[in-house]
Structure formats: structure tokens, C-alpha cells
């Protein structure tokens, strides 16, 4: 039976007894089905694609980094944020849509996904959320994932505290003059403030927020702290990295304690770098978008570094420098085959490191111990801006 007769339609098929009597095919007919994800391992990660060129179609990819294989994707629309539960059972996307695409009713949403099916388990409308190029710390989870914290700024700076059981906003905590969310434990978060302090918000037993401020410890216009500085909700440790390369190790909490800073450059045997007062001096500096990552059990800090003047804090890193957070010494430097604005690491004993090629949307998977490129996913996306791995 020829091709054209097949395509002519159902009636034609019925009219052809030769077809109805065809032998049992060797290849079996197939039902359509839907994949579920293999169990998440330490190298199963989320990769966030902001899609700057078509921002309303941002997305988050689930990637098997051992195989360099895409396992699935979900929408993460219009400067969305993504946060993965440490046990990788579920993840959250805070996103924004308008009913008619670029107009009509605005929907700010906190969506919870089952990490095995990628099915939506909650799709909650928020009062608001901040629209800003996505940073990990615009959305946070408490250590036990009982709470999600959504940073907003419409019109005043605040954090919406979402109960992830009831999927309701239980508080909107004003954080005047402050921004971002660095969660600690199960009932608190800190934020960085314009006056160089940390605001520490403790959610008390009665549900009310109590705020303290640390003393001012940095000067934002002189040497700002990267918003993408890494922290851990479980132990409340944060590593606030300044534009010039100072690291303020901080014990987050209701009374956050900021340690005396150490210098990335000094830890690498160079002299400390100047800040905004000597802007033209060229040296190695931290920079990029998600410009640092933490391996918690290794006590190692990964930082994207490039050579440049001050005010080049968003420039792609040409190398990753790895520090021991206890000795403040550089353990190794790993030149990148492609300069990257993001770096991520997995939390296991054989960690992988992730960087991205902004030009092509390529995703580069390396051995975090050596920097050796293991595999490259060509054009995984468009604007890969950060990763989230289990146990972070």
C-alpha cells in the first residue's frame, strides 16, 4: 500500500482489505506515556534559564549532570526564581505572568513542583514579588522547607513568608531599606541593607516577626557585597563577598555575627585589591552573576575571578579560585575554557562544577576537584544564570 493512499484518510484505509489483513507487525504498536524522573542523585540539578531575549519564557531545566542529559523542564516566567528542597523531593518557582502575555492581569505565583513527576502540587497567587534579573536570594527556603521566603518591592521592600503546608502567605515582613533573603534555620532570615547592616528577622512562636540589625559592616557605595554570596540555611553560615574581594564570614541568626573579613587576593598570595576609591587599578577580582558557590562539607568556596578594574563586578570569570573557608587560603585555581558568569557545585564527595558559556547557551560540566571539563551540553538554554543542587 502506497504512501499517498495511506495519507488520504480513514475511509480509504477502510476500503482497502489488504491493510486490514496486514500481518502482525514485528515492531509493536505503542501507547503514549509520560516519563517520571529517575530518582534524584547528588548530580541531578536544576539549571535556571532567564532567557533574557524572551523573558516571559524563562524556564528551569532538570539535568542529569553525570550524563549531560536533559530530564525535563518547567516554566519559570519573567525573572523567575527557583529554589530546590535540600532532599530534592520538590522545588519552588516564583514567577510572574500577565493574562494577555504583555498586558492584562498580573499574576505573581509561587508554584511547587513534585521533583519526580514535575507535576504542579501548588500554584499560589502571591501579593507581589520583585521583578529583577533573577538572583538566588530573591527566593529562599527554611532549612526544613516549612517556609518559603519571597522578596518583593512593590512598592515597599518586604518578604512574603509562605507556609508550604497550607500554601498561604502567613506574613508580609517589611524590611525597609533592605533586600534579599538569606534564610537561617527554620524560622528566620537575614537581608542586606543599604546602610551596610544586616537585618535579621526571627519569626517568633506567635508568628510575629522580630527584627534586629547588625552594626554596619560594609559600605555599599565603596565596596558593595555581592547579592549572590553563598549561604546555608542549615547551619546559618554565610560568606558575604565584596566587590573588591573581601569575605565576611557570618553566622546568621537573630543576632547575626559578622567576622572580620579576609581577602580573596591575599589568600592567593596577592595584595588585597582596592575598592571604589582606586577604581582604575587592574587586578584579579571576583565577578559575574552567580559568582560564587559553596561546598558545605568540604568547607570550600568557589569564586569566579577575572582581571579587571573596580566596577567590573559583573564581568565573566576566566578562572575559578577555590578557597578553604577555615584557612582563608586558596587551594587551587582552575582556568575555564569559556569565561562564565555563573558557577555551581554539587554537595557530594565527588563534586561536579558547573559553568556556562553565555554566547552559546552551552552548559559546561567539570570535575570540581580538578577543573577538567567532563562534558558540555551545547545550547542547553539561552541565559543560564544559576544552578541548584540537592543538599545546598
Amino acid at each position: 500500500m502506497g504512501l499517498s493512499s495511506l495519507l488520504a484518510g480513514g475511509i480509504a484505509l477502510l476500503a482497502l482489505p489488504a491493510f486490514a489483513g496486514a500481518a502482525e507487525p514485528i515492531l509493536q504498536t505503542e501507547q503514549s506515556d509520560v516519563a517520571t524522573l529517575p530518582a534524584w542523585g547528588p548530580h541531578t540539578i536544576l539549571v535556571v534559564d532567564a532567557v533574557y531575549t524572551h523573558n516571559k519564557d524563562g524556564r528551569a531545566y532538570v539535568v542529569d549532570a553525570d550524563k549531560g542529559k536533559l530530564l525535563g523542564m518547567v516554566q519559570a516566567a519573567y525573572n523567575a526564581n527557583v529554589a530546590l528542597a535540600p532532599d530534592a523531593s520538590r522545588f519552588f518557582v516564583a514567577e510572574t505572568t500577565w493574562a494577555r502575555g504583555n498586558r492584562g492581569e498580573r499574576n505573581d505565583l509561587l508554584v511547587e513542583y513534585n521533583a519526580n513527576t514535575l507535576g504542579i502540587t501548588a500554584d499560589e497567587k502571591l501579593p507581589s514579588r520583585a521583578l529583577v534579573t533573577p538572583k538566588r536570594n530573591n527566593l529562599g527556603l527554611s532549612a526544613d522547607v516549612s517556609r518559603a521566603y519571597v522578596y518583593q518591592m512593590s512598592p515597599s521592600n518586604a518578604v512574603e513568608v509562605v507556609d508550604t503546608k497550607t500554601h498561604t502567605v502567613t506574613q508580609t515582613v517589611d524590611i525597609p531599606g533592605c533586600a534579599l533573603v538569606y534564610p537561617w534555620g527554620n524560622d528566620g532570615f537575614s537581608s542586606l541593607c543599604a546602610d551596610g547592616t544586616l537585618a535579621n528577622v526571627h519569626l517568633e512562636a506567635d508568628g510575629k516577626p522580630a527584627m534586629t540589625h547588625s552594626p554596619a559592616f560594609f559600605e555599599p557605595d565603596h565596596d558593595g557585597i555581592f547579592e549572590q554570596s553563598p549561604s546555608s540555611s542549615k547551619d546559618g553560615k554565610a560568606y558575604f563577598i565584596s566587590y573588591s574581594g573581601l569575605v565576611y564570614e557570618t553566622q546568621l541568626g537573630a543576632q547575626a555575627v559578622v567576622s572580620k573579613p579576609w581577602s580573596l587576593q591575599e589568600g592567593a598570595g596577592l595584595k588585597a585589591a582596592p575598592a571604589a576609591d582606586k577604581p582604575l587599578e587592574v587586578t584579579w577580582r571576583p565577578g559575574g552573576w552567580q559568582m560564587s558557590a559553596l561546598h558545605k562539607s568540604d568547607h570550600t568556596l568557589y569564586v569566579l575571578m577575572h582581571r579587571g578594574t573596580f566596577w567590573t563586578h559583573k564581568e565573566a570569570g576566566t578562572e575559578v579560585w577555590v578557597y578553604d573557608t577555615t584557612t582563608h587560603k586558596r587551594l587551587r585555581r582552575m582556568p575555564l575554557t569559556k569565561a562564565s558568569t555563573m558557577v555551581g557545585v554539587t554537595q557530594d564527595a565527588n563534586p561536579l562544577m558547573f559553568t556556562a558559556d553565555e554566547g552559546t547557551g552551552g552548559f559546561i560540566i567539570s570535575d570540581a576537584r580538578t577543573g577538567k571539563v567532563l562534558r558540555v551540553m551545547k545550547a542547553l538554554g539561552t541565559s543560564l544564570i544559576f544552578t541548584a543542587a540537592p543538599g545546598e
Binding site: M1, G2, L3, S4, S5, L6, L7, A8, G9, G10, I11, A12, L13, L14, A15, L16, F19, A20, A22, A23, E24, P25, I26, L27, Q28, T29, E30, Q31, S32, D33, V34, A35, T36, L37, D57, R59, V62, L70, L71, G72, M73, V74, Q75, Y113, N116, T117, L118, G119, A379, L380, G381
Partner: protein
């Protein structure tokens, strides 16, 4: 002739030659299993399964004239391979248009997690160089997320314009999936043997 009186309402795209109609005619699955599999789709598009095959689906004379011919190799079939379902020249993809679900977290007849297969599809006829047979392939779209973009193909063996929807690869085949009609990727399921 006034169309509002014509009673032609039942003759539409989906009833003329849906995959499911075709399966009931030619496939191996019973009507009941098809209905079971459709599930929510039936509820979403109630008219969908129940309409008769319309006159518009009737064969044109060309089909009749060529029905007796032996299978002809097609341009695609002449170069197809049967080993790598991540490549555009995989034999089943002779008329696929879009993203391969095999590259998106799904499989050759499996949708990626978080998407849903369309109960309807268009149908291609592809030559398998391994066994020398041709098969009916249902290009079911997986729906509910925007375009996956990993491996994208445009093959057009037997692809006809949208006024022949059962053979057209431009249509978003996301009717009755229970998700939005947003296209993520394409599968290529075997639904019958031709020769």
C-alpha cells in the same frame, strides 16, 4: 446555501481523521482502551471521540489510483537510519516537525515529565531500513510547556497542508491533553504496519 442550516457542525478537523479513529480502524487497541487512555481528554473535548468520519476525509482519486502500487521509497526513507533516535534521520521521524522528545526527557513514544501526550495526532508513513517495512507513525505532541529546543528537526515526507490536517505537521496537536495547548516536543509512536 446558508451554512447555519447545513447541519455540518459535526464535520471538523478532529473528526475527519484523528489518530484515535485510525487506531480503532487499523490498530491493535480496543475502543475501550483508547477511551480509558484518553481519560480527561474526553471530558475536555466532549464532541471529540464521538463524531463520525466526515465526507471531507474521503479519499481523492489519487489515493484510489495508487492503492495497488507497491511501497515506494521516499526521499527521507532512502537515507534513514534505525539506530539513533536522537538524530533527525531516525527512520520514524520521516515527517516530524519540531523538538525530539527523546532529547527533552521523554522517549520515542514517551512525553517528558510534566507534559502530557495529545490523544490526537497526525500520521506519517515511514520506511524502516532495518526490517524493510513501512509503518504508520503517530506524531503525538507533548504539551503543557513551551518549546524544549534540544534537538529540532523538520522532515516533510508526506507532509500535506493544514487542509489535510491528518497529514500536516504544522498544527499544534495539543487538543484535549488536559494541559494548555503549549507545544513542548514531538513523539513518534508506531500505530500500525503498512507493508
Amino acid at each position: 446555501m446558508s451554512l447555519s442550516d447545513s447541519g455540518k457542525k459535526q464535520a471538523g478537523l478532529l473528526d475527519r481523521l484523528t489518530e484515535t479513529t485510525l487506531r480503532r480502524i487499523a490498530g491493535r487497541s480496543s475502543r475501550r482502551s483508547v477511551l480509558t487512555r484518553l481519560g480527561g481528554a474526553v471530558a475536555a473535548v466532549p464532541a471529540f471521540m464521538l463524531l463520525p468520519v466526515s465526507r471531507a476525509g474521503a479519499t481523492t482519486k489519487a489515493a484510489g489510483a495508487e492503492a495497488a502500487k507497491p511501497k515506494a521509497k521516499t526521499p527521507f526513507g532512502a537515507k534513514a537510519q534505525a539506530k539513533n533516535d536522537l538524530a533527525c534521520d531516525y527512520w520514524r521521524y520521516c515527517a516530524i516537525d519540531g523538538n525530539l522528545c527523546t532529547s527533552c526527557g521523554g522517549g520515542v513514544h514517551t512525553c517528558p515529565p510534566g507534559t502530557a501526550p495529545s490523544p490526537t495526532s497526525w500520521i506519517g508513513s515511514c520506511y524502516n531500513p532495518q526490517d524493510g517495512n513501512s509503518y504508520m507513525i503517530a506524531y503525538r505532541d507533548c504539551c503543557g510547556q513551551d518549546s524544549c529546543n534540544e534537538v529540532t528537526c523538520l522532515n516533510t515526507d508526506g507532509d500535506q497542508p493544514s487542509y489535510r490536517p491528518m497529514a500536516n505537521n504544522d498544527i499544534i496537536w495539543c487538543f484535549g491533553t488536559g494541559t494548555s495547548e503549549m507545544y513542548n516536543c514531538s513523539t513518534a509512536a508506531i500505530v500500525g504496519k503498512i507493508s
